[in-house]
Symmetry: D2
Subunit: 310 residues, 4 copies
Amino acid sequence: MPASYAYLGPEGTFTEVALRTLPEAATRELVPMVSVPAALDAVRNGEAEAAFVPIENSVEGGITTTLDELVAGEPLMIYREVLLSITFALLVRPDTKLSEIKTVTAHPAAQPQVRNWMKANLPDVVWESAASNADGARLVQEGRYDAAFAGEFAAAKYGLVPLETGIHDAENAQTRFVLVGRPARPAAPTGADKTSIVLWQRDDHPGGLRDLLGEFAVRGVNLMLLQSRPTGAGIGNYCFCIDAEGHISDRRVAETLMGLKRICLQVRFLGSYPRAGVRAEDVPTALPGTSDDEFVKASDWVARCQDGRF
Amino acid sequence: MPASYAYLGPEGTFTEVALRTLPEAATRELVPMVSVPAALDAVRNGEAEAAFVPIENSVEGGITTTLDELVAGEPLMIYREVLLSITFALLVRPDTKLSEIKTVTAHPAAQPQVRNWMKANLPDVVWESAASNADGARLVQEGRYDAAFAGEFAAAKYGLVPLETGIHDAENAQTRFVLVGRPARPAAPTGADKTSIVLWQRDDHPGGLRDLLGEFAVRGVNLMLLQSRPTGAGIGNYCFCIDAEGHISDRRVAETLMGLKRICLQVRFLGSYPRAGVRAEDVPTALPGTSDDEFVKASDWVARCQDGRF
Amino acid sequence: MPASYAYLGPEGTFTEVALRTLPEAATRELVPMVSVPAALDAVRNGEAEAAFVPIENSVEGGITTTLDELVAGEPLMIYREVLLSITFALLVRPDTKLSEIKTVTAHPAAQPQVRNWMKANLPDVVWESAASNADGARLVQEGRYDAAFAGEFAAAKYGLVPLETGIHDAENAQTRFVLVGRPARPAAPTGADKTSIVLWQRDDHPGGLRDLLGEFAVRGVNLMLLQSRPTGAGIGNYCFCIDAEGHISDRRVAETLMGLKRICLQVRFLGSYPRAGVRAEDVPTALPGTSDDEFVKASDWVARCQDGRF
Amino acid sequence: MPASYAYLGPEGTFTEVALRTLPEAATRELVPMVSVPAALDAVRNGEAEAAFVPIENSVEGGITTTLDELVAGEPLMIYREVLLSITFALLVRPDTKLSEIKTVTAHPAAQPQVRNWMKANLPDVVWESAASNADGARLVQEGRYDAAFAGEFAAAKYGLVPLETGIHDAENAQTRFVLVGRPARPAAPTGADKTSIVLWQRDDHPGGLRDLLGEFAVRGVNLMLLQSRPTGAGIGNYCFCIDAEGHISDRRVAETLMGLKRICLQVRFLGSYPRAGVRAEDVPTALPGTSDDEFVKASDWVARCQDGRF
């Protein structure tokens, strides 16, 4: 398997910074790609061992390009997730003063995070969109714009300096990234895990989605994320991207997946992997009756009943 | 094992008639007992191979003595059930005319079934209770009463004749009987089966009973009977005697029992056995997603996901 | 309305003792009746203002005669309930010694409460059933039996003395009695109330009973009792006698009753009345979102939405 | 109120075509705006009577800009919806041949609909993004690009001709648009209506979302759309944009909204309005027990119970 990770480029973006927090990234070649589909295609084609792409952020919600790529096409699996806090620096050429800035650039996704700061500090400046935050920095280096919003880490690479750092309109702004590979055995459970799936409903009746969620609830499995995505079968037809607490090797998760598989038109397993930023000791105990131990005991008891020994 | 069946006596009652409808009864010694507890104790003590007792009728509902005996004490299991339509004959000594009847007797349980008929046909007669319908017939034979309500089959035994037959205030009056033995492997599924259990709730919260019934509903298992019985822990404390469609070897039933075992304080398995009066071809198909085949496929799919092969 | 209360007689039974704990009983004529149906018929016929009858006990569960009378016939309503602890005294003629007792009597319902005590203290004695505990005491007075199990209060009336008191095999043995009248406006809520209803399901499908219980759960109304009783439409056909926490004037209870009325074949309202033995300050607060205040606010909000003012 | 409708411009886009299908648009001044927020701000500021914007399409799902604008800020209400099938024409200057096309342009949203067609028919052409499809047509008119994908209706306005029409990779590609105004009384129900709301959960527990959906299910209200949007409180925190069948003046919808209002942290009502493309006679009858008539009867019955008259 090629020892390379594809990631959503270019270099010098938040994605690269997030990727470098993974220990295994140190031993791989990191290859920037022009888009999420390009990064995931590299995995599907066998050109890359894995791809590292954003999947959710606190301002935009689910990254629909990533979700749609995981929902359709050759099956892929998520093996790791990384959470990164997003704050911007205002990068300028050395010696540029705030009052001299007439034009500013960044990727459009940066706008919700810097809009209020701009109103307060750069009210009359002209905004131009860049293909990426790193590309914006490059354009400032080339003199095309006066300033760029980007991660502070991008300054050095482009010979710029941060005039202001820690810019973030919304508190707790974070982006979640995932490391995606071809299907293989999931990593062993850590005690603080997450399982991702996609569900397609068999039909549409009152309470249909509730019945589907009932498969989780009756086994005490908590939902962490539910995002609807179009199925392509016409407006109003959606499948559901779901993140649930726990690992597929947990009995309650496995039985929930079985239940969903039985009642859904289709279920796609997207992996079980460690939750970023949560330690096993901080995960609440399973609800009464839903621990592995209780599952095993109940299963043994039914087996004894089937044999008439109890 | 002793080749005898104990049953709720005396001879000549509906219970004996029902018991004789079982082919296997022809090869056993049939031993009448004075009470349901006595019949079941004979099984528990090893004096009888099985006991045959009434468990439900259309007028009184669940026979509480039988239910309470099954709920508590050494575990027993149900292996067969029999449904018997209950209609009464008015038995008299030969040559007695309707107009000569001044006193009539029967077991109190007969009263709801003959009350209206008596009002219309014997308005001024005096009713006296007997220990059993057969005993009432005996007392008529002895000349103590003028007439007895009993099964028509009891006439010959006591030298009486039926003056009127087919007496039944309520249409569809039936009694259900069960053949009860010590725990052993349940009979193989027939396609029209029933599973009996007793449930004790772990605690009492709003929706507690609904959650418990949710274990059935989420797996498409239909409830046929739900009867509450006191736990003995004080007024308002009940356990639930439940009959559900299907056999413990059906995957949906087995998983339901596992779920109940996990969330209940206690579950007692009372057996899986053929439904009386229902043929396999008349049982509705399992709900979508709940057949054995779908369970197996779903289980296989989860196993493949756990291995990363799909 | 006649100022009399009918009750299940004869005099000197636990029922009379329970009835006399009601302050209003002091100003009524108390009329013993031979049976529960007779007592309730007296109310239906206008001969009595109300009837006082047992409805549940901790050994037998629901008193089926009483439940069946409330379920069918002219509608009646429950206005009060009384809880009475049941312990027996062994009543004998003065100077009788324990060793001299050869025969003992009582109503059959007493047996589960005294069986173990008898095994330990009167192992060889002969038991004979009496029509009521009071009647048993009378038969001892007449010399027909040596001893009777009855309430200690019955001793004086029949010239007997208690040889032993406080006999009760089961701890917490209690009987619940209700005061039943013709339909009228329920008593005002006290903060610790109970609502009794009877439900007939519209049809029978998997999850049917769960849906019905969902009407309670979704509005945070706790179930206190669920008893199935035959509908008379043949074996396996049941209606459900249900006690729920709260008063029909509570918004959550009223909306629950509306929901049940809509989805059930039939609903019979049996009254809202104070819970015996529970003070308002000991009743847990309504679940979040289910208080009267929250219902009123939500209703006002919907009305504003319907007007486009919000 | 100003007699103008703001809409997502520029002129000559699908949005304008969809808007002109509304009869009331004929009597208003139609004002193109540069963005969805700009169009909705015009309504909030009182500069426009209403705004017409896309809210969902079959390829992208919910239009997040529109949803986020409706979720936050001054409350707005939806009064109408329009469904438009989306097929593209390839517009060129007169006399341009297919083989002469080297560059093509359109809004990026057009790409998923024309990608396959391009691969098959224009494999080597260079794609450049335009600010809107209409703008792309203008740039072709100016000679900057050779061809533009746009609605066929845009040809005449820019002096172009359709070289090919009916281009659509996905069958059933549709966009849904809504007419949004300041809160006012919703239009009267038509029998084929839809109600839009936003829900914020009070807390996050296993089954929390299922409980929320239970408010719909228990009253037989069908869900048509469920889209999660970030609340702004950090990653993983979502509110739910929901479309449900029925009108707020339907009793089952009103009671559902009340239930949600009680258990949710917050509920925002976004309007009840006629469903596009559905006639009242094609809407399935309400489930048993959920019609207005049944609600009224149940409410009357509870009122009679509260009075003791039944």
